[in-house]
Symmetry: C2
Subunit: 214 residues, 2 copies
């Protein structure tokens, strides 16, 4: 019979990890196997220590290198038995939605209380998912006015072009950089303006920045 749960923590804010550790150490049945500041290291650790059963990964959303979203995807794909709890300081509806689609087991804001953290961990370990009421309302808001959120799915090329636009490159420059015709870039720009429902370069740039694309 298993009485101890093994936990891995990934967060580049060491001080936060320290805090998290001191909170979890007060719980007898929660054992921190490993902490790291890089998403890549989690995957490396799991591949090397396949014999050690890991129950839960607690990870930050924003990290250098592999971020929380990509990390969660990899985990769910390669180690589907490991539960994941994402903790973030931001409450980015789109990212939360994306995480849920990837099968994340819980999401907490960093301004959650200690009791809520433990409650979330307990829920997840017992097989339920945990999303705070606040997060749930954000998600619902996302889904209801999905007209605005409406799956503005950009293609790879569109993303590239958008990035370069936001970096102040002119159409001709982008064409040269991507070895495409100037007309092609103009088409992409036009489509982007339509898709993202903005009016001009300023709007495109805002979108790019607000979606962490540059």
């Amino acid at each position: 019979m298993k009485t101890v749960y093994n936990i891995i923590i990934a967060d580049d804010h060491k001080m936060f990890v320290d805090g998290l550790r001191s909170i979890l150490e007060q719980e007898e049945d929660l054992h921190i196997l490993h902490t790291t500041s890089k998403g890549e290291e989690v995957l490396k650790y799991l591949k090397i220590n396949q014999n050690e059963p890991v129950d839960l990964l607690i990870t930050d959303l924003n990290m250098p290198g592999i971020d929380g979203i990509a990390l969660n995807q990899s985990i769910k794909k390669d180690f589907p038995t490991i539960k994941t709890l994402v903790i973030s300081m931001l409450e980015d509806g789109a990212k939360i939605k994306s995480l849920t689609e990837d099968g994340v087991n819980g999401y907490l804001s960093k301004n959650a209380e200690q009791t809520e953290l433990l409650k979330a961990i307990r829920s997840i370990l017992s097989g339920e998912n945990y999303f705070s009421v606040h997060i749930q309302s954000i998600l619902i808001k996302m889904l209801t006015n999905s007209r605005k959120t409406a799956e503005v799915r950009l293609t790879q090329r569109e993303k590239e072009v958008l990035q370069l636009i936001a970096k102040e490159h002119t159409t001709q420059e982008i064409a040269d950089l991507l070895f495409l015709s100037k007309h092609t870039i103009e088409s992409y720009r036009k489509n982007l303006i339509n898709k993202l429902e903005v009016r001009n370069l300023a709007g495109l740039t805002r979108y790019a920045i607000e979606h962490d694309m540059i």
Copy 2:
């Protein structure tokens, strides 16, 4: 003879505060007087409890309402005996510089180690200021290539125009909104592009967003 230092913590990330608390509680001579998630409350608390000597305020940089910068200013003005340590997840050179000018006693990134946190607190309590090597290098970089940072001081009107540009308004619209001639707005746009050393609307928008102007 004083052996215990009184500390106040202001941070809207409760989980972080919990962590901080559990770290500081291991130190006998560090006593947490009060924690809060709002900058305003710190000032209120200090005004009410003027009899209690407070030695150190640890505060986050980004908070809703009064942020770390404004809070630090108020503290240094009204309670100059209280030392201040700002902890942030961002390493924003401009904001750090601004804080030092306001007389902050230390700055730490949230990815600092627990040992560094305590070292910083000890330094500050003993009368020295504490800035990590990393932060120092950021500050020096700020000051040395101050050509680029060069106090790009925007006038009130320029800021207004810049904001509206970043909000996707056309020149004509801005002119109408501000009851000015279209030519005037064009002049402002031109000056902004010069002053900020950008090339087009995308650059202006980036500047506006990166400087929290919208």
